[in-house]
Every structure is written in structure tokens, then in C-alpha cells.
Symmetry: C2
Subunit: 295 residues, 2 copies
């Protein structure tokens, strides 16, 4: 595969946060010049000081004019406004454009409206960190993690191959699927868990407001189940608002499963409870093995 | 506090699993003789081989006859059947009885029916491990962990003090509260999270049955939110069936919080979503600090 190695003359990384900084670091040997774009002066300074980028600007046009690869590494709503906005006018023909947004249907739809000749594909690396910001950048952030690729109306066969070698250069594992299927999948494994976690904390908080012992006794089970409730609000707001339909469908299914458990509980039907919970437990155990094998 | 140190002549540990084995190990220097009781020969053998107990038997009566302390370290339903069964007839007057069951109202009610003269108190150590069984025993399992104590009709003032010194000998932190309040609290922080985790896995499983990409892309967020779904079924069945009312009340409250989030989402009311989620996020962050400070 090294023969098909990714190389670009000028890489523009739009958004100098954890994801963009890590992407720039991982692609250091694959680009002649890396230009970072961010509105925040301090992020640009850090990126330059640490040698994460060669140049930094707040001018999207200046960064894109000479770029043959543009990586959009911002929150979903910002990626959307960039792609729907002036980006198309700034790009040279044949420029490769990829993003890292957490939902894909809206972004891929917008990418499909870019000028003919632009090579655009949606991306979603399944990776992250507890900490954010360019200062947390890590060249290994994408290593051995799934990186979903969603074709758009502007994805030629050559762009697909370019995207796969781009992901390979990052050390990630490319998984191609259409944007609709991606959004449905992450609604199940990521957005639904977030909402449950938030509603759990809201419930525990209303108990804790009446009796603080709740907070004193909460331990590992609560810690894990509620962890996602501490996620960044802007990011989650963006994600949820661009995936409402899939999330609502999954919520309806979740409520149905929860209602079955509750009914069996209230009926004091221990056999039914066990029949409901046994395959669930097994599925979780099987997945854990699957997950650890991959890592 | 060392002047009030716990000491017992003969300690009977009923149930040689992780909790009972760890308790016996932690109390090694506080008892002249430790007798283990279990129906499973292999558990008794391991307990003897490793010196966790001095004697082991499957005969509850034989173990209790000479005991001045009896620790019931079995699942909730078994504790209940022991306390409601012949235990009272086997105990000498003034014997101190404590349990480690995860729900307390039913057990404390049953303890209140023991013969006058028995010194019985309900206990719930907020500790555990991923692995179970006597072979996972750990003398430090109870260290610096909350150990809830719930008085019963058979808890004299002397029994309360004895219970506190018992917990101190284990290295735990005694927290006294009534059984009803305990059960409500753990419904919020433990049983509700378990049910959500199980219903989440049921939902993801129904998606995964249609599209296996769901299992491939699931990562850290799903892992943490779903971890409790792999809990031991017998244990969880016991717990839920002895805390149905509190769990049902918390489920109703949870559904209300989730419905508010969903309504704001479907209304595409980003401001309302943020208003709902911001205090939740802050509560989770505050609790994490509180939790880490204690540990």
C-alpha cells in the first residue's frame, strides 16, 4: 500500500483544534506545506510555535487558493457554513476536499453543490480525547481508528482512492458507507447514548437537589453511564440538530425497549426480565470482545 | 478511633464470593476464628486453601451456633431467605448480624423480625469489581468506600456502634441512613443507570442485527454508557425485584427529562436544548470533582 502513499503539495487545515492539529501532525511527512486557518489568534500562534503548521492565517481564501488538499476540521455547523458559503469560489479545480464532521448527510449534500471539478468527500474519524484544543494535538489520534468516508456528488473514483490513501496516511482505517447509513449508525452508538446520559444526570440531579446523599453514594456505575453528559455543548448541539430524524427514530426504539423492561419489572415477572436481559448482556459481552480485538 | 477497634471471637461469613472473601480477608486481624459458609464445595476449598477462612462448612447452623458476628454476604434474595428462614433459631442472644445486600428495605424489615436479643443491622458497601468469585477476593475492596448502614427494629445503640467499628475495621466509611432513603438513592445512581444501559444495548442490538457497521463503529462513548448491561443477571434481577417501586418512580422521572430534550430537539429549538443541557453538564462536572476528591 505504501506505493499509493498520500502526498500533497499544499495542505490547508481549516480549524486548528484537537482534530485539525492532530491531522496536521500526522500528515507532516505527506505535505510540502501545511497552512492552518483559524479565527482565533492564540490557536494560530500555538500551531506555529509547535511547528504543527508552516503558515497560519485567518483568511480562508488565502489558504485555499494554492491548496491541493483542504481538510475541514471544525464543528459541523461551521463546516456547513464554509461549504455552503464561499469555499467553492476559493478552490482551484481538482482540489481534494475532506471534512471530519460528526454527522454527514447535510455536509455531503452541501459538498455535492461545490463547483464541478472539486473533489469532495465526507469524512468522520471515530476518535477523540477528553481534552480539546490545538494544545492537545496528538499525531497518533487517528491511528487504528475507523475513519468513515461518505461519497458525495463531487466524489470521483480518483477522489475515493485519494481519500483512502489520505486515511491511510493518518494511520486510520477507512470504512466507506453512504451518509444516511452513517448518520443512522452514529445516532445509535453515539447520539442516543449522549441523550440518555444527559437525561440520567438530569434525573439524578433532581434527586440530588432533594437529598445530597445521592451525590455521595454515586460511584463507578453512575460515572460511566453519565460520562457523555459532560461533552461539549456546542459540539453536541451541532450534531443533534443535524441528525434529528435518525436520533428521534432511535429514541422511539429505545423507549420501546425500556418500556418492555419496565412492564416486566412492575409485573414482577422475573422470568420475562431474564429473557429480555440475557441476550442484551450477551450482545454487550460479544461487542466488548470484538472491540478489544480491533484495538 | 483505634480504641474502639472491632474485635470478635468467631466470625461467620455466609457466602464465599468476592464480597464475603474480601470481607474475611479485611477482618483477619479482628477475629479469633473465621468460619465460611457456602453451598459450593469449590468455593469452600479455595477459601480454605488461601487461608481466607479457618473453617468452612455448608451448614449454616453449625457456623452460627458459636458465632458472635454473622456477616451475610450473599445476593439479596438469598440473604432474604436466610433471614426469613431459620437464621433466628440458630443465633445466640446478642450476636451481631450484618449483611451486604444491594437493597435494604426488604432485608431490614426481615431483620426486624429476628428474635429479640439479636443485634441486626443492614449494610451496603458501595464497592465491587469487574470479576466475581472468592478467587477475586481483595483485602482492600472496602477501603475508603462508602458503607451504608441501615438500622432495623433489632438495632440497639450498642449494635449501631458495633456496626460503625465493623466498617472501620474494613477500612470503609460508614454512612447511616434509613433503608427507604437508601433504596431510593441507589435506584437513582445504580438501578436506573443499569436499566438505561440494558435498553440502550437492546436498541443498538436491534440496529446491529440489520447493519453490522453499528458494532464496528461503536467506540468509547457506547462502551461506557453500555458497560452496566454486562452485569450479572441474577444479581440485577434480585436487586430490581426488591426495589421495584423506587425504580419505577425514577424511570418515570427519567422519561420526563428525556421527553423535554426530545421535544426541544424536534422543535429545532437550539436555545432550549442548551438551556436544558447546560446545568446537566455542570452537575456532571461538579460531581466528578466531588468524586475524585473523595478517592
Amino acid at each position: 500500500m505504501s506505493g499509493t502513499g498520500f502526498h500533497t503539495r499544499q495542505l490547508a487545515v481549516v480549524g486548528l483544534g484537537l482534530m485539525g492539529g492532530s491531522l496536521a501532525m500526522a500528515l507532516r511527512g505527506h505535505a510540502d506545506v501545511i497552512v492552518g486557518v483559524d479565527q482565533v489568534a492564540r490557536s494560530r500562534e500555538i500551531a506555529l510555535e509547535r511547528g504543527i503548521v508552516d503558515e497560519a492565517t485567518d483568511d480562508l481564501r488565502a489558504a485555499c487558493r494554492e491548496a491541493d488538499t483542504v481538510a475541514l476540521c471544525a464543528p459541523v455547523r461551521i463546516i456547513l457554513s464554509i461549504v455552503r458559503g464561499r469555499l467553492g469560489a476559493y478552490l482551484r479545480s481538482n482540489t481534494f476536499v475532506i471534512d471530519i464532521g460528526s454527522t454527514k448527510e447535510d455536509i455531503c449534500e452541501a459538498m455535492g453543490q461545490l463547483p464541478i471539478g472539486v473533489q469532495a468527500i465526507g469524512g468522520h474519524p471515530m476518535t477523540g480525547k477528553e481534552t480539546s484544543g490545538i494544545e492537545s494535538s496528538d499525531a497518533y489520534l487517528y491511528r487504528q481508528r475507523p475513519f468513515v468516508l461518505c461519497s458525495t456528488r463531487r466524489t470521483t473514483p480518483a477522489a475515493r482512492l485519494r481519500a483512502l490513501s489520505f486515511v491511510e496516511a493518518l494511520g486510520g482505517e477507512g470504512i466507506e458507507m453512504d451518509a444516511h447509513r452513517h448518520d443512522r449508525t452514529v445516532a445509535a452508538i453515539s447520539h442516543l447514548p449522549y441523550l440518555l446520559s444527559a437525561a440520567l444526570v438530569a434525573t439524578v440531579k433532581s434527586e440530588g437537589d432533594k437529598d445530597s446523599a445521592v451525590w455521595d453514594l454515586a460511584a463507578g456505575g453512575f460515572r460511566d453511564t453519565s460520562r457523555l453528559a459532560a461533552s461539549n455543548l456546542d459540539m453536541m448541539g451541532d450534531i443533534l440538530s443535524t441528525n434529528t430524524q435518525a436520533v428521534a427514530a432511535l429514541l422511539a426504539r429505545f423507549r420501546a425497549h425500556l418500556a418492555l423492561l419496565e412492564a416486566a419489572l412492575i409485573d414482577e415477572d422475573g422470568e420475562e426480565i431474564t429473557q429480555l436481559l440475557r441476550p442484551v448482556r450477551q450482545a454487550r459481552i460479544d461487542w466488548q470482545k470484538h472491540y478489544e480485538r480491533k484495538r
